[in-house]
């Protein structure tokens, strides 16, 4: 379904080209129909991995495929829904127009899209505000609009980068329900978070990334031994990674 095959990426920062190793030989497999929680501290490489899947960043080595096609092929993204971290949209568009763009650009037929837009807006709670320009939206509303945009074309694979950030408890519940709903529909969900509680509640499998490497991955039940919490596992994994960097 989603295959990440030993990707590495080095960024050059600043004018002097100081090298930062963002991803090191990272491999990952996500199976059809599962909810995969991607976990890691800030700056660990979560967003970079996700951007590789969206072809926003090209890995120096290795490759990634989704649904059997290389992510560099634009057509793949017809079946992918993506919510960026801290999404920004055009200021002077309404939510309705934003979704119209998302649907049309992903090849959704006009009549179908016309029915789908109000549905999805209602689902994320933006039906009332659908005609307002996005610049008047609060951060939470923008996040909801981003979710709607990620789902408007009924994608098979949904990739959500920090979907809960900026949302109030009701919003978090809405996102959680959405993820479970997607799972019921047989969609594949890949979402990142640094909030362990969210990961624990919704994921079938998890992966922990730190310092650009995948440190741990597997079924939630297998990764977390009985008597321990995900937090214990997470902290232990991160601590081990830190030791390695120091060495």
């Amino acid at each position: 379904m989603i295959e990440v095959d030993s990707i590495s990426k080095i960024f050059k920062e600043g004018l002097r080209g100081k090298k930062v190793r963002a991803l090191i030989d990272l491999s990952l497999t996500i199976r059809k129909g599962e909810v995969f929680g991607f976990l890691g501290p800030n700056g660990a490489g979560k967003s970079t991995t996700i951007k590789v899947l969206l072809n926003l960043i090209r890995p120096d080595t290795g490759q990634a495929t989704i649904l059997g096609s290389d992510v560099r092929d634009a057509k793949v993204r017809q079946k992918i829904g993506y919510l960026p971290e801290n999404p920004y949209f055009y200021d002077y568009l309404s939510a309705e127009e934003l979704l119209w763009f998302g649907g049309r650009a992903s090849g959704v037929k006009k009549p179908l899209l016309k029915a789908r837009i109000p549905q999805i807006l209602e689902r994320v709670g933006l039906l009332e505000a659908r005609k307002r320009h996005l610049r008047t939206y609060s951060k939470g509303m923008v996040q909801r609009a981003g979710l709607a945009l990620a789902l408007v074309h009924d994608p098979e694979v949904v990739i959500l980068d920090e979907p809960m950030s900026g949302l109030d408890p009701m919003g978090r519940k809405m996102v959680g329900d959405l993820i479970l709903e997607l799972k019921e529909q047989g969609k594949t969900v890949f979402f990142s978070s640094h909030i362990l509680n969210d990961i624990e509640r919704f994921s079938d499998r998890i992966g922990i990334v730190a310092e650009g490497r995948l440190r741990l991955s597997g079924n939630l039940a297998e990764v977390v031994p009985s008597g321990e919490t995900l937090e214990d596992v997470f902290l232990r994994t991160i601590a081990a990674a830190d030791v390695e960097v120091v060495l």
Binding site: T48, L54, R77, Q78, D91, L98, F101, A105, L149
Partner: protein, 270 residues
């Protein structure tokens, strides 16, 4: 094409709703109003001055539109990462550039059409006020001048896309576009100057001549698109000139956007 059109539509909407547009239109309307004041001071060729002012107002406002609205349409996409929502769709980077460009072209055509309408209205009302001072006047060359202004602005927008495709800051894009605008309008005059320096009594080194010649072929010759004087005096403009200029504009624009797409497709968006 299926992916390009929706992008062009939202680009156009985003551009046309930008607040800066109101300012630009207000400025243009002031200039059109000033047309009356200035024309009142002209003794003989009021028609010429009316056309001058109206066309210059359209050209200048269009320039502001490209520089301050157009550049932002692309640059803000990169600055604020709104590009993610576009590239998350089945749209390649090349298609992205073309979609944005088509949207921008729609915006320019709409703006020039409405500004041009106001310009014609302003010329028409001056003519109504001073009917005897329009000794040589025809609408047709004015319309052609407007069309070439639109084409020039589209070409300039294409250039700004090229610059945006390899710079990381919208300010650099703005500066490069402004510089190309000035070079584009002056380069043919400068080329004529260095090729016959004895006419003005200056000495030019061979290296300068080569440099100017290189600039002449690299930068667009924007002065080709300026037929305001001809329109103002209703001088004859051969159709071969118009056809040639339009063809030149199209070829250069397509070449530049294509190049921008090529450069852009190598870019990453961390």
């Amino acid at each position: 094409m299926k992916a390009i059109w929706p992008l062009a539509v939202i680009t156009f909407k985003e551009g046309i709703r930008n607040r800066a547009i109101y300012g630009i239109f207000l400025l243009a309307l002031l200039l059109f109003a000033a047309n009356f004041l200035i024309c009142g001071m002209i003794m003989q060729e009021v028609g010429k001055v009316a056309v001058d002012i109206a066309l210059s107002a359209v050209s200048f406002s269009g320039l502001l539109l490209v520089l301050f609205v157009g550049i932002n349409l692309l640059a803000k996409d990169l600055d604020r990462r709104t590009i993610y929502m576009v590239l998350a769709r089945p749209i390649s980077r090349g298609q992205y550039i073309w979609g944005k460009f088509v949207g921008m072209t729609l915006l320019i055509f709409t703006a020039v059409a409405s500004l041009g309408g106001c310009a014609l209205l302003s010329i028409g009302s001056v003519r109504f006020a001073f009917p005897n001072y329009f000794p040589r006047f025809a609408w047709e060359p004015v319309l052609w001048a407007l069309a070439l202004i639109a084409l020039m602005l589209v070409l300039l927008a294409a250039l700004s896309f090229l610059f945006a495709s390899f710079t990381t800051s919208s300010f650099v894009t703005l500066v490069l576009t402004v510089v190309s605008y000035f070079i584009g309008h002056g380069v043919s005059a400068i080329k004529a100057l260095v090729e016959a320096p004895e006419a003005v009594g200056i000495e030019v080194s061979a290296a300068t001549v080569r440099l100017v010649k290189a600039a002449y072929y690299m930068f667009p010759n924007l002065s080709l698109f300026d037929i305001k004087i001809q329109a103002a005096h209703n001088l004859e403009i051969p159709w071969t000139y118009l056809a040639g200029t339009i063809a030149y504009g199209l070829v250069y624009t397509i070449m530049i956007v294509f190049l921008a797409g090529l450069i852009f497709s190598r870019r990453e968006f961390p």
